[in-house]
């Protein structure tokens, strides 16, 4: 009786490029380190380089504290409004049918494509001193809010939209057949299903707004904003204060990042 068939003598080549390839891995890690990790570490180090006491005093001086407070509050408001309006827009995009609907859906991505400084300029143009309709709220907290709503718009919508599309209509139809009104169905069935996505979108909008600079640079005026304070510090050569405040912002962002990932959200890219 013959033995088992012999294996072919030909050597089977590596099946995948990358993956287990140490060279690729090394290069990727090097790229990330040189461009992202080491520079960010430098900020953290610089922030505390003159000692923790100095770090604390640069962060708690009146301007920094005010800027942080206003930035966080604005971002929170934007996240909340973005959640409500985002759900509304997502609803209209998914559950309604009208001409131009697809175009509207694409326009939601406009804040992703448009440079933030152009976004700020458009808002100054319409709602600032040069306004053709006479509305002037530039250089106020209101305009800051508007600018942040602009840049955070897509997050509220895009977080909810796919979930809404996947919703099984059976539960809603069953409720309707049992006599529930639209408001009740929305409150008891749809909203609970959407809540994780809404929160995820709100967290993303918050994280995005906290660090925003470009859209606010032209429209914030004297309103203290954390990123603008950091920028002014850098311009005046006070990199230590800039780094200290940056470190605080970075910690806030990291906390948001962990929270977003924990709830299954994605910061960049599609599902």
């Amino acid at each position: 009786m013959r033995g088992p068939a012999r294996r072919p003598a030909r050597k089977i080549a590596r099946t995948t490029v990358g993956g287990d390839n140490p060279l690729t891995l090394g290069l990727v890690v090097l790229y990330l380190s040189l461009i992202v990790l080491i520079p960010l570490a430098a900020v953290a180090v610089k922030g505390v380089s003159s000692g923790l006491g100095s770090f604390w005093s640069s962060v708690t001086n009146t301007l920094s504290l005010r800027a942080l407070g206003i930035t966080l509050l604005m971002s929170l408001i934007v996240a909340a409004i973005g959640a409500v309006m985002g759900t509304l827009v997502a609803w209209v995009l998914v559950r309604d049918r009208f001409p131009g609907q697809r175009l509207l859906g694409t326009l939601i991505d406009l804040p992703f494509a448009l440079p933030s400084i152009v976004a700020g300029l458009t808002l100054v143009a319409l709602y600032g001193p040069d306004s053709p309709v006479g509305i002037n709220i530039a250089y106020t907290r209101g305009s800051t809010l508007l600018a942040l709503m602009f840049v955070a718009l897509p997050f509220g919508v895009r977080a909810v939209q796919p979930v809404l599309m996947e919703l099984d209509l059976e539960a809603e139809e069953a409720a309707a057949s049992l006599g529930a009104g639209s408001a009740t169905i929305f409150r008891r069935i749809v909203l609970p299903a959407l809540t994780p996505a809404i929160i995820s979108g709100a967290a993303l909008a918050f994280a995005r707004s906290v660090g925003e600079f470009g859209a606010l640079a032209l429209i914030a005026g004297k309103v203290p904003i954390a990123s603008i304070v950091i920028f002014d510090d850098i311009e005046s050569g006070d990199t230590q204060s800039a780094a200290a405040l940056s470190l605080v912002l970075m910690i806030i962002s990291l906390v948001m990042l962990v929270a977003i990932r924990r709830t299954g959200g994605r910061v960049v890219g599609t599902h």
């Binding site: 080549a13 990790l37 960010l40 610089k46 309604d96 440079p115 152009v118 660090g211």
Partner: protein
């Protein structure tokens, strides 16, 4: 649930009004203001030497940054999807950083490492190589902010495809490079394309980080977004009487971005129809 007509219509109107008030109307006003005094004026402002060199610089920086991030992104996706252990998840988390960190912090970070007194000053500044306050610094900043997009778009595509075809190719004797070039790359091309578009949009529009690392001298190291910023400052101090100059530069940038948005829309639908 199906809403009654009035409710459905009001929601529709609210949504459209929201988008109009926040996005469309302001954008329209900028376009209108740009051409308010005639096409000639606007065109003049778009073709000043500073404006032309700003456009060139913006494009050149994007042409360097985007391919770098594309190659990185594909490599990163391959590692994320095909490696074992926690490396994939760690990489995935790091990719969120460029998005979540404020652009001015990014600029500061690069300044602290590649600047005159930075961590790597012994390698660069001391040898006369200027990175910060010069174009290389701006390229670095742009790479940083547009880093994650290709990686993030390719990863799910790669995950879905699996490596059956590559395994088959290997048993037929293909080298890993051949396999990559002939099989892997074509299968992820729409993910790559969409990621490239997103990356390009981000690279073209960056202001915060580039503002921190650039020297702001007109005609030398200004990108188009920086030009908008600088012209706006000049209007404030009365150096340039016409707001049109600001609007013109902004319109130029906006038109480029709208083209990118259109490509995004086109690639987006291709991408989802392939899934």
């Amino acid at each position: 649930m199906t809403l009654r007509r009035p409710a459905r219509l009001s929601l529709r109107v609210l949504a459209i009004a929201y988008i109009t008030i926040l996005l469309l109307a302001p954008l329209f006003v900028v376009f209108w203001r740009t051409f308010e005094h005639g096409f000639g004026d606007a065109f003049d402002w778009m073709t000043t030497p500073a404006a032309v060199s700003a456009l060139w610089l913006t494009l050149i920086i994007a042409v360097i940054a985007v391919p770098c991030n594309t190659i990185f992104g594909i490599a990163c996706a391959m590692i994320t999807v095909r490696s074992h252990g926690r490396l994939g998840r760690w990489l995935d988390a790091v990719l969120d950083l460029p998005f979540i960190v404020s652009p001015v912090v990014i600029g500061l970070a690069l300044l602290l490492v590649y600047g005159q007194t930075g961590w790597f000053s012994a390698l660069f500044a001391d040898n006369g190589i200027k990175i910060i306050y010069a174009v290389p610094g701006m390229v670095l900043a742009t790479i940083f902010v547009s880093l994650p997009f290709v990686a993030r778009e390719v990863t799910p595509v790669l995950r879905e495809i699996g490596d059956d075809q590559e395994q088959a190719a290997a048993t037929l004797g293909a080298s890993s490079w051949q396999t990559f070039w002939r099989i892997t790359l074509p299968s992820i091309r729409w993910g790559v394309a969409y990621g490239v578009v997103l990356s390009t949009a981000r690279a073209l529009g960056e202001i915060g980080a580039v503002l921190v690392v650039s020297s702001n001298v007109a005609g030398q190291t200004l990108t188009l977004p920086l030009l908008v910023y600088q012209r706006n400052e000049q209007v404030g101090t009365g150096e340039s009487q016409l707001l049109t100059s600001v609007y013109a530069a902004a319109t130029e940038l906006a038109v480029i971005s709208l083209v990118v948005l259109a490509v995004m829309m086109a690639f987006g639908s291709r991408r989802s129809s392939r899934k």
